[in-house]
Amino acid sequence: MSTATAILPHDRERAAAERAGIDESCRGPVLYFAASAIFWLLAGSILAIIASVKLHSPYFLTGIPELTFGRVRMAHLQGVSIGWTSMVTMGGSVWMMCRLCRTELIYPKLLYVSATLWNIGTLLSISGILLGDGQSIEWLDAPRYCPPFFIAGLGIVSAWVAATFRRRREKHVYVTQWYILAAVFWFPWLYTVAVFMISWSPATGVVQPIVNWWFNHNFLGLWLTPVAVGTAYYLIPKIIGRPVHSYYLSITGFWALALFYSWAGMHHLIGGPIPAWLATASTVGSMMMFIPVIAVGINHHMTMRNHFHRLKYSPALRFTVFGSITYTWVSFQGSIESLKDFSEVAHFTHYTVAHAHLGAYGFVTMIFFGLYYYMIPRLTGREWASSTLIRIHFWCASIGITIYFVGLSIGGWWQGRMLNNPDVSFASITQYLLPYLFSRTVAGILLTIGHIAFATSFLMNLAGWGKKRAGGPTYFVEKAPTV
């Protein structure tokens, strides 16, 4: 498509003003979601470091019941899954939906209620767990009084996204919108079913872990992944100024993800007391995930082709592309991990922990960082104050997650091999793992330094320390076309 066909300055101004108006309408609630998410990210990071240190230095902070390993680990997961990733998912969905529908956000005040409910829920969840109300249901550890807050908050966001969509002025529904619409529909269903069947009206025995793993895997697969992939589908073309390479591939990727991702998850119970066909069904679903993953991988790579030099100039692009590449990698790894022979070793070890963090951090969180670097200046009308802070954030995050992944993957794999061999004593497995567990602490500290740089940048931006964006709240290049 030719880009040089004359764009009239007048059109340009009008389009820019429209976008500025949309961003303006989202500013309050989306910034509230974004700021809360950063707060929980920092809280989650501190809990993560405490938990990590305790695994290799058991005397660290011993004697404080609130900070015993099991509680801190549950609180960490709540902080980063419910607090950080979910709140970005919601705030980002609202913003992208408004932009892509070319419509302003209606009744923004109710979204403040939603974010407040979600914050109260997360606060109750973390403090409740630390005080001894944790439920020991993985990913659903929040005490029984928390889910109503999440369900209500989520309901508002889902309704708002749907309402925005109904009021759209842009006829075409872009690929990012498919992903967001599906995610805000899937997650409330997923969450409510899981809470009902495990906590409020518990099913018998092993039905609980089955529902639990269906939820856990789909939390990543049908809530975080769609929105993160959708974000990449919006940001990458937008930043480099080039449409998605193949729209056919993107639609294939979307439907294949919808159909197959939801079937994965049961391989986490491999060898467990559940019907064997369940794990087999999940293995099939996981293997079929190669289709959407390859589709997205090719598409993003081909879109980026000849534009990789832009990684040098755009912070948002750098994080997003890092996350997008990791998506391909972590999904391939996930498919392989679902295979029986592989899982028999990797199950019950730190290998799975490394994989989970590669997905939730290397992929989802990195793309969300990219989203912040693109979205926040357009909401506040301020540029980022310091390139140095962004660089510190990027390098800490990327090196940190690499150390994390490599260390625990190697350690976890051999842990699994040794666990499968009864001649190796438990004591020697424990001792073997210590250096790898230590490397995780190093990684965690690096990641946290990155998060502090990120939060500082964010606060500086809110405080108005950055340069005003030229021409108004959205990104105006110049009044006249520069092509």
Binding site: T62, P65, F69, L181, L190, V207, W214, A258, W263
Partner: protein, 274 residues
């Protein structure tokens, strides 16, 4: 693509497929499974938790024990390793002594929540109730390193109370040397100055106790040499603190009652046969 309805229907259909297949179908197949009774006169297996163990499960939950300890013994055919003859073998869980048979869904019908676990930072606990005594469990929970110096398990000293002995020592008091009880949760050692101070006042009686200990009677000891000081200290640290004792709180008793009730692989059930 400009129809929202297509996306909605597609999302609905794809998701319902997994909901039906992975949630509702197993629910229909496994919910409400009944206990096993070989003869009508036999006790059914399993039985619901009794007494303190019910409260103990809450402590187990609240402290996230599940995040390091699984509760499932896997099949004799699960996993593989090669022995010294290069022979491929399987079934490490059972060979490690974690249970006599694999676990089946019936073992969990009274579990709520069902804590199968996802990680083995520590050993499997499905059948731990038949492996260790109550006293061992208390000592280990109070400070795991007092029994296994390599352990990375947290100390749960906060579930125990340190109190003055009034009259007789409590029967429930943990039998632990002062290195574990002076500063509960930690391993304690006096500084060398502090040790000199202790020796200057109680040196003779510590030495007498050292010599009367059956393990030391033949060894001469000189408390004035560094080597002798160290040997006396090592001995003294293993002796019990005078006048104080460590006793389990109700929470600790409940937790251990729960742990001792974990016997998920003892009673044979027909479907566990391989």
């Amino acid at each position: 693509m400009d129809r929202g309805m297509v996306i909605f229907l597609g999302a609905l259909l794809t998701f319902s497929s997994s909901w039906l297949g992975l949630v509702l179908y197993p629910y229909w197949q496994l919910n409400g499974e009944k206990p096993y009774q070989k003869e009508p006169t036999d006790d059914p297996y399993p039985l619901p938790l009794q007494g303190e163990a019910v409260a103990g499960r809450k402590i187990y939950q609240a402290n996230g024990c599940m995040y390091c300890h699984s509760q499932q013994v896997r099949s004799e055919k699960f996993g593989n390793w090669w022995d010294e003859h290069g022979q491929e073998r399987t079934g490490a869980d059972i060979k490690r002594g974690w249970g006599a048979r694999r676990n089946v869904s019936r073992d969990y019908i009274y579990d709520n929540p069902t804590m199968l676990g996802t990680m083995r930072t520590g050993p499997d606990l499905a059948n731990v109730g038949s492996r260790y005594s109550e006293a061992w469990q208390h000592t280990h929970t109070f400070n795991p390193r007092s029994l296994n110096n390599w352990s990375i398990m947290p100390s749960f000293a906060f579930l125990y109370r340190k109190e003055k002995v009034v009259g007789e020592r409590s029967e429930k008091a943990l039998k632990l040397g002062r290195e574990w009880t002076v500063d509960p949760g930690y391993r304690w050692r006096p500084s060398s100055a502090a040790w000199d101070a202790i020796l200057s006042t109680q040196g003779e009686s510590i030495k007498a106790r050292f010599l009367s200990d059956p393990a030391h009677t033949t060894a001469a000891i000189d408390p004035n040499t560094p080597e002798g000081k160290k040997r006396l200290l090592d001995f003294w640290l293993t002796t019990e603190e005078e006048g104080v004792q460590i006793v389990p709180t109700g929470d600790a008793d409940a937790l251990i009652a729960y742990v001792l009730a974990l016997r998920k692989a003892e009673v044979p059930v027909p479907e566990a046969k391989e």
